[in-house]
C-alpha cells in the first residue's frame, strides 16, 4: 500500500486526462465496484424477466380479460409489443425498458407503473431511513452498555432482552404494538399515514405523520436493535483487547475516555456494513409492516400487486427497490473506504 495513495501527480509514467484517475488503485477499485453493481442489476433484470414469463398469460391476456378483443387484435397487439419474438429478443427489449424506468402500465391503478412507484416511494423511504438510524443508535447504545458491564447483571439483562427481540418477527411486534399502544391504551394511531380530513399543515402535519409512523418504525427496528446490540458488544470487547487501547491506558488516559473515545470509534466500523444489508431486508419487511398499518408505501403496493396479479407493478417495485439497495451498498463501500484507510482495495 506504499504507492497507492491518491491520484498520482508529478509521476512521469502516468498519462494526464480524464481517465488518469482510473489507473490508480483507488480508481480501479471504484470502477470495479461500479461494474459489479451494474452486473448485479443486469442479473436482477434477467430474473424479473423470467418471473414475468412464469406468470400465467401475458400482458395481452390481461388486457383481453378487461375488454373484448378479436383474435386478429390480440395477434396485432402481441406483434406490436414484440411478444411474438424469440425469447432472447424479448429479454433484450425488456431490459432496455427497465433500464429507462419504463415499467409499463399498471391495470389496477390505471396509471403508468413509474407514476405509482414514485407516489409510494416516499413513505417507504422514510420508514427505511428512520429504522436504519434508530436501530443503529439504540442497538449500539445497548451494545456499549453491555460491553462496559461485561459479565455483570446489566450485561446478562441486556443479552436476554436482545435474545427476545432477535426471536420476535417484525410483524408480531407490529401486532403487539397495535394491541397495546393502539387498542388498549389508545395512545397512538394504528392505521394510515396521516389523520384523514384534519387538514393539518406545516409543523402540525409533520407531527401528525411522525405519530402515525412511530409504531411502524419501532416494529421494523426491534430485530435490528438486537443485531446491532450483539455486534456492537462483540466489536467493543474485541477492540478493547487491541494494542492501541493498551497504549492509551499506559499513557494514563482515563478508562472512560479510552472506552468511549479511543475504542468506540474503531468498534463502530463493522456496524456500518450491517446497515447495507439491513436496507434490503427492511424493504422486504415493509411489505408486512405497511400492510399491517395500512401505509401507502412500496411494500403495500407489492402486496396489492401480488393479490391482483399486476405483474408489471410487482416487477417495477422489485427493480426499483433492488436499484436502491445496490446504490446504498455502493455508497456504504465508498464510505467504508474513507473511514477505514486499512481497507484492502483488492
Amino acid at each position: 500500500m506504499t504507492q497507492t495513495s491518491g491520484p498520482i501527480t508529478g509521476n512521469g509514467t502516468k498519462k494526464a486526462g480524464p481517465f488518469a484517475a482510473l489507473s490508480s488503485p483507488l480508481g480501479r477499485y471504484i470502477l470495479r465496484r461500479l461494474v459489479q453493481a451494474l452486473l448485479v442489476m443486469v442479473l436482477v433484470m434477467v430474473g424479473s424477466f423470467f418471473l414475468m414469463k412464469l406468470a400465467p398469460g401475458d400482458f395481452v391476456d390481461v388486457l383481453a380479460g378487461t375488454r373484448d378483443l378479436t383474435a386478429e387484435q390480440t395477434a396485432e397487439l402481441r406483434a406490436r409489443y414484440g411478444l411474438d419474438q424469440p425469447l432472447v429478443i424479448q429479454l433484450v427489449r425488456y431490459m432496455g425498458l427497465l433500464a429507462t424506468f419504463d415499467f409499463g402500465y399498471s391495470p389496477i391503478n390505471a396509471a403508468p407503473v413509474t407514476d405509482v412507484i414514485l407516489a409510494r416511494l416516499p413513505v417507504t423511504a422514510i420508514l427505511v431511513v428512520a429504522s436504519v438510524s434508530l436501530s443503529m443508535v439504540i442497538g449500539t447504545l445497548f451494545g456499549i452498555a453491555a460491553a462496559r458491564n461485561a459479565g455483570k447483571p446489566v450485561d446478562l439483562g441486556i443479552s436476554i432482552f436482545m435474545l427476545l427481540l432477535y426471536a420476535t418477527p417484525s410483524f408480531i411486534v407490529a401486532i403487539m404494538l397495535i394491541l397495546v399502544f393502539g387498542l388498549k391504551l389508545g395512545l397512538m394511531p394504528i392505521a394510515g399515514y396521516e389523520s384523514v380530513g384534519m387538514g393539518y399543515t406545516g409543523w402540525q402535519h409533520i407531527w401528525d405523520v411522525t405519530r402515525h409512523l412511530t409504531l411502524p418504525v419501532v416494529a421494523l427496528c426491534t430485530f435490528y436493535i438486537a443485531i446491532y446490540g450483539r455486534i456492537g458488544r462483540a466489536s467493543m470487547l474485541e477492540v478493547m483487547r487491541l494494542d492501541f487501547v493498551r497504549t492509551a491506558r499506559a499513557k494514563g488516559i482515563s478508562e472512560g475516555r479510552v472506552f468511549y473515545v479511543h475504542a468506540l470509534r474503531n468498534a463502530l466500523l463493522p456496524l456500518i456494513t450491517m446497515a447495507g444489508l439491513q436496507v434490503s431486508s427492511l424493504v422486504g419487511g415493509a411489505v408486512l409492516i405497511e400492510t399491517v398499518f395500512g401505509l401507502p408505501g412500496m411494500g403495500r403496493t407489492a402486496y396489492d400487486a401480488v393479490l391482483q396479479r399486476d405483474t408489471n407493478l410487482l416487477l417495477g417495485v422489485i427493480f426499483t427497490s433492488s436499484l436502491a439497495v445496490v446504490t446504498v451498498n455502493f455508497v456504504i463501500d465508498m464510505l467504508y473506504m474513507v473511514l477505514d484507510p486499512r481497507v484492502n482495495l483488492k
Partner: protein, 281 residues
C-alpha cells in the same frame, strides 16, 4: 462419528442450549402427536365460536371465530412450521454448499460469476421475491418451500466459499492433488468436512427464518389454503384483535418460542463447535 455424541452431550450441558433443545423437543412432540390427540383435524368446528381461554376446560386456549380448537391448530401448525423450516433449510444447504464449494475451489471467472449471482439474490429484498414467487406460481407447501429456499442459499454459499478459499491453500489439499485425487473428491471428501461448524450453526438460523417467512406468508393470506399454519391463525386473529386478542397472542407466542429455541440451539452449537471462540465473548 464418535464426536457427534460428545457434541450432543456438551450441548445438553450448555444451560441455554438445553432450554432450546427442550423447547424444540416439545414442538416436535406436538407435531408428531397432532394426529392422535386431535383426530378430527384442525379445521373441525368442535366448539362454540369465540370461546375465550380458560372458560371451558375442553378448550384450554379457547376457540376461534369458526369454533375451531386453538390448541389443535397450534399442534397442526407446528407440523407445517417444522416441515417448511426443515425442507427449505435442506434445499438452501444443498444449493449453497454446491455453489460456494465450486466458487471457492475453482476461483477466477467461475467464482466471479457465481458471486455476482449470489449478490443479485441478496440485493432483491428477499421477502419481496418470496411473495412474488408464491403469488405468481400459486401457494402450496412445495412452492412456499421453494420461494423460501431460493432466497436463503446465498448466506450458505458465501460461508462455504470463504472457508473453501482458505482451506484450498492448505498442505493437505495440495497432498491430495499430488496423489491424483479428483477435484470432486477433494472438495466433498477433504475440504467440506473441515468447514461444517459454521454451516451447522447457520442452519439453525435458516430453519428459524424459514418458519418466520412461512408464518408471514400465511398471515398475509398467501399460505397454502389446505394446511393449518400458525400464520393462518394470525390471519384470522388480526380482524378480531380488539375483542379476541388471544387468537393472535397464542400463535404469536408459539412462533416466538420456536424461533427462540432455534436461536438458543444455534448459539450453543457455536460455543460447542468452536471452543476457542468462547473466551472472546
Amino acid at each position: 462419528m464418535t464426536g457427534t455424541f460428545a457434541h450432543i452431550r456438551r450441548l445438553a450441558r450448555h444451560p441455554s442450549g438445553l432450554f432450546g433443545l427442550l423447547l424444540l423437543a416439545a414442538i416436535i412432540l406436538m407435531s408428531v402427536s397432532a394426529g392422535w390427540i386431535f383426530p378430527e383435524g384442525p379445521w373441525a368446528m368442535v366448539g362454540p365460536t369465540r370461546l375465550h381461554p380458560g372458560v371451558d376446560p375442553r378448550f384450554p386456549l379457547g376457540t376461534d371465530t369458526y369454533g375451531r380448537d386453538i390448541v389443535s391448530a397450534i399442534f397442526y401448525g407446528a407440523r407445517v412450521s417444522l416441515f417448511v423450516g426443515i425442507a427449505s433449510a435442506a434445499i438452501a444447504l444443498i444449493v449453497g454448499i454446491v455453489v460456494g464449494a465450486i466458487a471457492g475451489y475453482f476461483g477466477g471467472k467461475v467464482d466471479d460469476a457465481l458471486m455476482r449471482l449470489t449478490d443479485a439474490f441478496q440485493t432483491i429484498p428477499n421477502f419481496l421475491l418470496s411473495i412474488a414467487i408464491v403469488g405468481i406460481i400459486g401457494a402450496s407447501l412445495p412452492t412456499i418451500t421453494f420461494a423460501i429456499s431460493i432466497v436463503a442459499w446465498p448466506i450458505i454459499a458465501r460461508l462455504v466459499r470463504a472457508d473453501v478459499l482458505r482451506l484450498r491453500t492448505y498442505d493437505f489439499v495440495q497432498s491430495c492433488k499430488i496423489i491424483g485425487m479428483s477435484d470432486m473428491r477433494i472438495v466433498f471428501q477433504q475440504i467440506l468436512p473441515n468447514c461444517m461448524a459454521p454451516i451447522i450453526v447457520t442452519t439453525s438460523v435458516l430453519v428459524a427464518n424459514a418458519i418466520i417467512v412461512e408464518a408471514s406468508l400465511a398471515f398475509l393470506g398467501l399460505g397454502d389454503p389446505n394446511v393449518m399454519s400458525w400464520g393462518t391463525l394470525l390471519n384470522v386473529g388480526r380482524q378480531q384483535l380488539r375483542t379476541e386478542a388471544y387468537i393472535t397472542i397464542v400463535p404469536a407466542v408459539a412462533l416466538v418460542l420456536t424461533v427462540l429455541a432455534l436461536n438458543l440451539i444455534g448459539d450453543a452449537l457455536n460455543d460447542v463447535l468452536n471452543p476457542r471462540l468462547k473466551e472472546r465473548t
